[in-house]
């Protein structure tokens, strides 16, 4: 559905990603793991068509992403950014409804069916009862879930998320991961940058490991998340936790 072809990204002359070839198919959920500054956000921005790569291209439905008109693209690809402005003065429900903008051309639809859809997304992310609360008065974790709800409201076939679990407690980390996994099961393509290998191994099928100097490994999560790979990725000593069904590693 969405693919990187020979993608290279450089930031201030430092190669972050070199010659990456991946394809995320409908129904797949991918995680991007890597240390701080390894290029996870840059990769997501390039995949969303918001940054021009230094070489190669991103293809969406067999067409270069830069060739899609902005609004058409917004109907197919959504992105939750790592930093988003908290300067929104309206209610939480209004904030979620902004996700309909690419399809409705007005910022706030009065359509009761869409309103119910937004309310059910708030419910799915455990924000029941917050719909009338001003967005900027939400707590950090609540705001993060409202941003994800807005992105789900955009109803795109391809979902990109930069650290969707930031600010979230364990319960809500799981709720968000399950909500995203459900979208993948329903045939969407999901790609998210994470700092939680254990969450990735539980709910993602594929992973991209971003090493320094532009080197990247990618593949099925069961084959990629090995002790060796993760120790060299994070450059710290790890040891396996006592589990038999999935790989979980904790710092030593």
């Amino acid at each position: 559905m969405i693919a990187a072809r020979g993608l290279s990204i450089a930031l201030a002359d430092r190669a972050l990603i070199q010659n990456l070839d991946i394809e995320i198919k409908a129904g797949e959920c991918w995680a991007v793991l890597g240390r701080n500054g390894s290029g996870k956000s840059s990769l997501l921005l390039a995949m969303a068509g918001l940054r021009r790569p230094s070489a190669g291209e991103v293809r969406l439905r067999e067409r270069s992403i830069g060739q899609w008109p902005r609004r058409e693209l917004a109907k197919m690809v959504s992105i939750v950014l790592q930093d988003e402005s908290a300067d929104y003065w309206g209610s939480t429900l209004d904030y979620v409804m902004l996700g309909r903008y690419p399809r409705s051309r007005t910022a706030y639809s009065e359509d009761p069916a869409l309103r119910n859809q937004a309310l059910s997304l708030l419910g799915e992310l455990d924000l029941d009862g917050h719909e009338a609360q001003p967005y900027r008065t939400l707590s950090g974790g609540e705001r993060q879930r409202a941003r994800i709800a807005q992105s789900l409201m955009q109803d795109t076939e391809c979902l990109l998320l930069d650290e969707p679990l930031q600010h979230l407690d364990l319960k809500h980390q799981l709720a968000v991961m399950q909500a995203l996994a459900r979208r993948a099961t329903a045939g969407r393509a999901v790609l998210m940058a994470l700092h939680e290998p254990a969450m990735a191994s539980r709910l993602c099928g594929h992973v991209i490991l971003l090493y320094d100097s532009g080197r990247a490994l990618h593949g099925r999560i069961a084959e990629m998340l090995t002790l060796n790979n993760l120790e060299s990725l994070y450059q710290c000593r790890l040891e396996p936790a006592d589990r038999s069904d999935i790989q979980v590693f904790v710092p030593r």
Binding site: L50, R70, A74, I79, L81, L98, R105, A107
Partner: protein, 324 residues
């Protein structure tokens, strides 16, 4: 729309004819209401008709257009720059117009030519800010503010220079222009035309302006043509400011305060905030101008003084009552 919201909209819409009526009913010559009503519908005394249609109506309509233009420009700029302190005079446009207009006065140009000078100064300022803020990567609010502040400071120095060079007889007129004064505003039509155009163009940007609050990248990912939206917004704000300044000089405060007033009353979406700002700003300036020419009648005060005297306490009271 909640009941409160609806009541607020009704109130603002009622204030428009009310403020214009108050402006037309009051003046240095006391005309009883029946005679004014007769003159309003084309009858009555010829002198009454002349006072109403030749003096008071143009002045009231000028004040309204000016206030509406400034409030609209302020609302647009606060959204564009994501800065609550943005106001129409931040961009250096009024400074440019002032420097141009005072130059025109100093060289003894006719009134029409003074307007050409003022327009040239304002257009130069707007174009400079635009050129400094636009980069291949996109628009940069930080650059807009810095370029605007720098240009304003430069024009401020030019204005001081012109004031010190001007003969004493001209200084009074120049000071009135600088403080904002509607006594020379006799033809409101150009300002109303600009108001109509900018208000309609701005209304089409209402939804993109809401989305721009989330940041450029986020707005882009939601399908907003960010650069186009920002350029149109900047263009509308510049044009509105220019039209207001050419009509009445630099009237402060209306552009800064009106959008805040409405936000504190709970209006946040630009599709409502933009038209209500224009209506509120227009009504406020119309009332302020009526006061300015009535307090010390027949000598008029600069209306800018009155807008500050009313606007500052109102805003502070609302601010004190704001929750959170």
């Amino acid at each position: 729309m909640s009941v409160n919201r609806r009541a607020l909209v009704m109130l603002v819409l009622l204030a428009v004819p009310a403020s214009l009526a108050i402006a037309v009913w009051n003046g240095s010559v006391d005309i009883p209401s029946p005679r004014l009503l007769a003159a309003l519908f084309g009858g009555g005394d010829a002198i009454d008709r002349e006072i109403l249609w030749g003096l008071r109506a143009p002045r009231a309509l000028s004040a309204f257009a000016c206030g509406a233009l400034l409030a609209l420009a302020g609302t647009l700029l606060q959204a564009l720059l994501r800065n609550p302190l943005a106001d129409p005079f931040l961009l250096g446009i009024s400074g440019g117009a002032a420097a141009g207009s005072l130059t025109g006065m100093l060289v003894g140009a006719a009134l029409a030519l003074q307007h050409v000078f003022a327009f040239a100064g304002a257009a130069f300022a707007a174009a400079s800010v635009f050129a400094f803020s636009l980069r291949p990567s996109g628009w940069n609010a930080y650059r807009v503010i810095l370029a605007g502040v720098a240009l304003s400071a430069g024009f401020g120095a030019v204005v001081s220079l012109l004031l010190s060079l001007a003969p004493a007889a001209q200084v009074h007129g120049m000071l009135f222009w600088l403080m904002g004064d509607l006594s020379g505003a006799t033809n409101p039509l150009p300002a109303w035309i600009v108001l109509g155009i900018t208000a309609v163009l701005a209304q089409f940007q209402a939804a993109p302006l809401d989305l721009l609050a989330l940041g450029d990248d986020k707005a882009r990912s939601l399908g907003v043509a960010v650069l186009a939206a920002q350029s149109i917004t900047f263009g509308c704000a510049s044009l509105a400011t220019m039209a207001a300044v050419l009509l009445a000089g630099s009237i402060g405060f209306v552009g800064l305060v009106t959008p805040h007033l409405l936000r504190l009353l709970g209006v946040h979406h630009h599709r409502l905030l933009l038209p209500l700002s224009a209506a509120t700003g227009g009504s406020m300036l119309t009332i302020a101008d009526t006061l300015a020419r009535s307090i010390q009648a027949p000598v008029g005060l600069p209306v800018g003084i009155v807008t500050a005297l009313i606007g500052v306490p109102v805003l502070l009271v609302l601010l004190a009552r704001m929750r959170g």
